[in-house]
């Protein structure tokens, strides 16, 4: 357990101190949201209607942006080999790494969401609802992305391929995330139904993600 905690805090410290991680992700999220009104036009009613979708897409792209560093840095300096050889089960080790990654890149996106919602003419309560769905949904994006990161870690041209592999798998999370946000704003469906399915998807991808990523790492690194 202490080994896992050490790994977790090491990754958090690395992400916070080396820069280029969380801050860039939030900045990218901000830029995506700011670009949308330029493309769509400053129609406030329209922006309010598609605001949750824009926020979800922005968060999805921003979380994708940092995924290729999730395991690649450890692969380059050799610490991934040590993690593979350690007695700690690889599944738990990658879970700790993914949790640290979510804490440093996913959570800042969630925190920034209510503020960015104001740009899209979403009032405070609506922005909080979207942030809540992102809080439930972004761990799923991280754990699905973990599979892609593990598959592409040993490839030299893995960055773009990672996006191609991961994005189709995130379709269900996107669907239920946006429909939960919309249910909170306009109804008529109850908020609970899509939201609980979103939580279920997150738990499901937690299980699938760590086992598939560990399997992919074992096969790829030998």
């Amino acid at each position: 357990m202490s080994a896992l905690l050490a790994l977790f805090w090491r990754d958090v410290r690395l992400a916070v101190r080396t820069g280029g991680g969380a801050g860039i992700g939030v900045l990218f999220f901000l830029i995506v949201v700011v670009l949308m009104p330029f493309a769509i036009g400053p129609d406030l009613a329209l922006l309010a209607r598609i605001g949750p979708a824009i926020l979800w897409l922005g968060a999805l792209l921003a979380s994708l942006l940092t995924l290729d560093r999730l395991l690649a840095a450890d692969h380059e300096d050799g610490s991934l080999d040590l993690i593979l050889m350690a007695e700690t089960p690889l599944e738990l080790a990658v879970a700790a790494k993914a949790a640290a990654h979510w804490l440093t890149t996913g959570l800042p996106l969630v925190v920034a969401t209510p503020l960015l919602g104001l740009f899209l003419n979403l009032d405070g309560r609506t922005g909080l609802a979207v942030a809540l769905t992102l809080l439930a949904g972004t761990p799923a994006l991280t754990f699905i992305g973990l599979i892609g990161a593990a598959l592409s870690v040993t490839l030299r041209r893995g960055g773009l391929l990672l996006a191609v592999l991961v994005l189709p798998l995130t379709v269900p999370v996107l669907i239920f995330g946006v429909s939960a946000s919309n249910a909170a704003i306009v109804g008529p469906l109850p908020f609970g139904t899509p939201f609980t399915i979103l939580c279920a998807l997150t738990l499901f991808s937690l299980v699938i993600g760590i086992f598939a990523a560990a399997a992919a790492l074992r096969q790829g690194m030998e």
């Binding site: 191609v164 592999l165 269900p172 998807l201 499901f204 790829g220």
Partner: protein, 246 residues
């Protein structure tokens, strides 16, 4: 002949060469019978002759899913038993599956234009088939990125299995998403609601397409084994060449 006997690529190649002419013949006969049946099938009273697109569309859709199922079985063979032919089977199946998925989407939109008035709607079935195509393309991209085929196969087996778990979820979520926005305009065809005059040609065509898939798959596996041999021979030749570092 047990499955383990096929683990020897040489034996598989000789078997494939013996079986392929028969498979090609059977495919040709099945297509001849199927097309004759389709020609004789009555036009739909509303859709006219365009209903005949169905005889290509439905078997392609079926094979697009069967092919992923086959790749998942091969992925299990790769990961669990390290069966040497399993990754050859998986690699050979991916482009064929993508082709059938593409065929399904193209015939579907050509059928949709006269019937629904548009080439594309964001209907549940169409969307999940499109996601399936994207996943096939991602898989093929991964095959082409990793140089060493035996190492690629195990990574890809993981992705294939994840995809196999995810496809029903995608299907289910897309169904749900569709019913939110688009009430009961889904086109449903229950097996029992089809008249025998159309159902029989459809089943014959499905058989013909399945035979075509098996033929193409065996031929592609055969080619893949030869391709790997050529690759090994070229590597050996490059090693033995004068001036190369030894």
């Amino acid at each position: 002949m047990a499955l383990i006997d096929l683990a020897n690529p040489t034996r598989f190649v000789s078997l494939a060469e013996r079986v392929l002419p028969w498979l090609i013949g059977a495919t040709a006969i099945a297509f001849a019978v199927g097309l004759q049946q389709v020609y004789g099938a009555p036009d739909d009273y509303q859709q006219g002759a365009t209903v005949k697109i169905m005889f290509i569309h439905v078997p392609s859709a079926w094979l697009s899913m069967l092919c992923w199922a086959l790749m998942s079985a091969a992925a299990l063979g790769t990961l669990v038993w390290r069966h040497p032919m399993a990754d050859v089977a998986a690699k050979a199946a991916a482009p064929i599956g993508a082709a059938f998925t593409f065929l399904c989407l193209v015939t579907g939109s050509l059928w949709g234009r006269p019937m629904w008035g548009t080439y594309w709607v964001w209907d549940a079935r169409l969307t999940s088939e499109l996601v399936l195509l994207l996943m096939y393309l991602g898989l093929i991209a991964l095959w082409r990125t990793v140089e060493d085929p035996s190492r690629a196969s195990r990574a890809i087996a993981v992705l294939t299995l994840v995809g196999a778990i995810n496809l029903p979820i995608i299907k289910f979520s897309v169904d749900w998403w569709n019913t939110l926005h688009q009430p009961a305009s889904v086109f449903r065809i229950g097996g029992s609601t089809i008249d025998p005059s159309i159902l029989v040609p459809l089943l014959v065509m499905a058989l013909a397409f399945t035979l075509l898939f098996v033929t193409l798959h065996v031929a592609a596996m055969h080619n893949e084994i030869l391709r790997r041999r050529v690759r090994t021979l070229m590597l050996l030749q490059a090693q033995a060449a004068p001036g190369s570092a030894t």
